[in-house]
């Protein structure tokens, strides 16, 4: 478990990170419609609704690293993943690839750059077009981007399918003819078909059965070493994240509350939220557990608590937690946590 710290690779926080997000924010705004604007003329006092889905987040991912991004639903982890690959425009902040600001790229340069980042989605049912055959699902992008010639599609798709452990003779089939695990593999093959270097996996194994999940996790690990991939692995399943990640980032309500090496963070979490979260990790040990959950639910991001977002549920909350939001501060080399308790 966490104590068997792997010393396979010690990733120093030196050198240029492959992907870096600096001060990234995403706000979703529901603008006032015409009726509300007219209402405001007469003093209705209606305001735009703003959700701070992601609030000034900094993440740096070294080449070859697997970073686990953990949080409960609504904490902004999927939004952050989409921001990282560029599926959503940023409200604030900047993305860097090998130190180059991505907003400075234009045209062809931006497009080829974009291919290096791909995403694997959560739902292997919804993320594949039901009316396309596998050969088109996997082969469309490489042809469109000129990676292969259209005539080479069959052969190329066959290679891609082989690599993810699917029988290439099945490529003329439709997604509904595959099982969940096979569909997950199709999604992976599609992402890998354009030769990416960085993959964002958004809950990519959450919909799979345990035995199939183990197969897909093993596939991720194999591909990582074979193709020298870098992952941002988004999941709510702490067991999976603990297993696969080198470093872990914990999010709560749009903010990063703790980030650190997986081995350390899972054995000695610093932030009270991380501690509470880890206490809930189900261990497959046949011991009657008394479930002692943390109270309350994740608050609405429309109206987040003041100060530290976690303070209403935190058992160590101080008066100042209500007033000022704590900064992410380094608690150990390469390990930071956003909690006022660390200042004491």
């Amino acid at each position: 478990m966490a104590t068997t710290a792997s010393s396979r690779r010690t990733i120093g926080r030196t050198g240029v990170p492959l992907v870096e997000l600096k001060g990234v924010s995403k706000r979703f705004v529901r603008t006032l419609d015409a009726a509300a604007k007219i209402g405001n003329v007469f003093g209705a006092g209606l305001k735009e609704e703003v959700v701070h889905a992601v609030d000034r987040v900094d993440i740096a991912i070294e080449p070859g690293e697997v970073v686990g991004l953990v949080g409960e639903s609504g904490c902004g982890k999927s939004t952050l993943g989409r921001l990282a690959v560029g599926l959503l425009p940023l409200s604030d902040g900047e993305r860097y690839w090998n130190g180059v600001a991505l907003s400075s790229l234009r045209g062809l340069q931006a497009r080829t750059q974009q291919l290096k980042m791909q995403m694997i989605f959560q739902d292997p049912y919804a993320s594949l077009n039901p009316r396309m055959r596998v050969i088109d699902i996997v082969g469309e992008a490489p042809v469109a981007h000129g990676i292969i010639r259209p005539q080479a599609k069959t052969e190329y798709v066959g290679l891609q399918l082989n690599r993810v452990g699917l029988d290439p003779t099945l490529m003329r089939r439709f997604p509904h003819q595959f099982s969940g695990g096979q569909r997950a593999r199709i999604g992976i093959a599609r992402a890998l078909a354009v030769k990416p270097e960085f993959l964002v996996c958004d809950e990519s194994v959450a919909a799979l059965d345990v035995s199939i999940q183990a197969q897909v996790l093993n596939l991720f690990m194999e591909l990582r070493s074979a193709l020298n991939l870098t992952y941002l692995f988004i999941s709510h399943d702490l067991g999976v994240v603990e297993h696969i990640s080198d470093r872990v980032v914990i999010m709560y309500l749009g903010r990063v509350v703790e980030a650190g090496p997986a081995a350390g963070l899972f054995s000695a979490p610093n932030h009270p939220y991380t501690q509470a979260l880890l206490a809930e990790v189900g261990k497959v040990e046949p011991k009657k557990r008394t479930f002692a959950p943390i109270k309350g639910e994740i608050p609405s991001p429309l109206d987040p608590p003041t100060g530290c977002h976690f303070h209403p549920r935190c058992r160590h909350a101080l008066p100042r937690c209500r007033e000022s939001p704590p900064r992410l501060r380094e608690v150990a080399p390469g390990w930071s946590s956003a909690c006022h308790l660390n200042d004491a």
Binding site: T4, S211, H236, V281, V284, R289, E297
Partner: protein, 360 residues
């Protein structure tokens, strides 16, 4: 509650499941009070155009009062269909084709539709995976809850409301009076599931069948729901069948576990026995697949292949194509047999069970 007499020991037994039923009953007599629910040789088949899908195939188990039974399996293993069969919720083209299900000695299969309706939501309640699908989106919570009471009892609306409110308090919903007047979409996922549990508890059921009720929830919310369920089953003495694919939930919650694969129970025993020394290679494979059980970054021991289509399983052990112990003998369907310490109640369905040396 009508106190029907406990079922008698000697009953007509179905042919194939005969041995296991008798074995289970004898264990039951030694260690437990007469079971509340007794399922023997249950077969639920779906007659589709492509062929007969044996979703549940010769499943036998018992649940005692106050006991939490974990029914574990991957998708398509028949665990939900077992639950639906008990509730009488199998729709065509599916049909319960064989077996007996006795609740307190009363044969569920012999009941008329009306008798079953009286039973459901009253003595047997079910909690489903997705509370948004089971709560009516256009009815307020108070209406949905009182409806459940009024369908089974002649009480005044005020009494029903009061009981509904009490049930909401029991499952830990803050400001119940306000929440009674809310619609399902105004609740969060965890709160919705609490409402669904409150509805299930309204008529003090003897048996609760919970079908993956925490799968759609966050871990902290899952912890809260498990905490409530644990407390409630202890307080009310209701038996619980907890259907899940998540071994870690079962590990902390259940007294006994049945592991299902391709429509059959392949292993059964106390949670401790099954999780610490599984006898069936599938159970072992399932445990090995759990990431938190192996060292970080190490390759997970995976079960090769995938679950077979229930259409063309054929005879023999359904797991043999994925099993590293399989021999020619596995082409013959193994029978459920007791294994290990007699009295432990551990049973499995395998020709080549795993052996554990240090097992007392």
């Amino acid at each position: 509650m009508s106190a029907a007499g406990p079922s008698q020991g000697a009953r007509p037994l179905c042919k194939e499941g005969g041995r296991e039923v008798r074995a289970a009953a004898s264990v039951g007599e030694v260690t437990r009070s007469p079971p509340l629910l007794e399922v023997a040789g249950l077969r639920t088949h779906f007659f589709t155009r492509a062929g007969v899908v044996k979703a549940v195939d010769d499943v036998s188990f018992t649940v005692a009062r106050g006991e939490v039974l974990g029914l574990v399996g991957e998708s398509g293993s028949g665990k939900s269909m077992t639950g639906y069969s008990i509730m009488g919720l199998i729709d065509p083209p599916g049909r319960v084709v064989a077996g007996t299900m006795r609740l307190d000695g009363r044969d569920l299969r012999a009941m008329s539709a009306e008798e079953l309706r009286q039973l459901r939501g009253n003595r047997v309640a079910m909690i489903f995976q997705d509370p948004m699908m089971t709560l009516n989106p256009v009815l307020r919570i108070d209406r949905q809850m009182t409806e459940t009471i009024l369908a089974h009892e002649r009480v005044s609306a005020a009494t029903a409301l009061e009981r509904a409110r009490a049930a909401l308090v029991k499952v830990g919903i803050p400001s119940p009076d306000e929440r009674m007047r809310a619609y399902p979409h105004q609740f969060s996922g965890g709160m919705r599931q609490r409402v669904a549990i409150a509805i299930a508890l309204l008529n003090n059921p003897d048996l609760i069948i919970a079908d993956e009720p925490t799968t759609a929830l966050d871990v902290t919310i899952q912890g809260q729901i498990l905490y409530e369920m644990q407390k409630l089953s202890r307080e009310t003495g209701a038996a619980v069948i907890w259907i899940t694919h998540d071994l870690s939930v079962v590990a902390g919650l259940a007294d006994r576990v049945c592991v299902m694969y391709a429509g059959r129970i392949v292993e059964e025993g106390t949670t401790f026995d099954v999780l610490t020394h599984p006898r069936h290679p599938y159970t072992q494979g399932l445990l090995d697949s759990v990431p938190s059980r192996s060292p970080r970054g190490a390759r997970l021991k995976q079960i090769p292949g995938m679950t077979p289509s229930l259409l063309d399983i054929g005879g023999g052990c359904a797991f043999r194509d994925r099993c590293n112990q399989a021999t020619a003998k596995c082409a013959e369907q193994p029978l459920m047999a007791a294994i290990g310490d007699p009295g432990s109640g551990q049973r499995m369905r395998c020709h080549h069970p795993l052996h554990w040396e240090a097992v007392a």
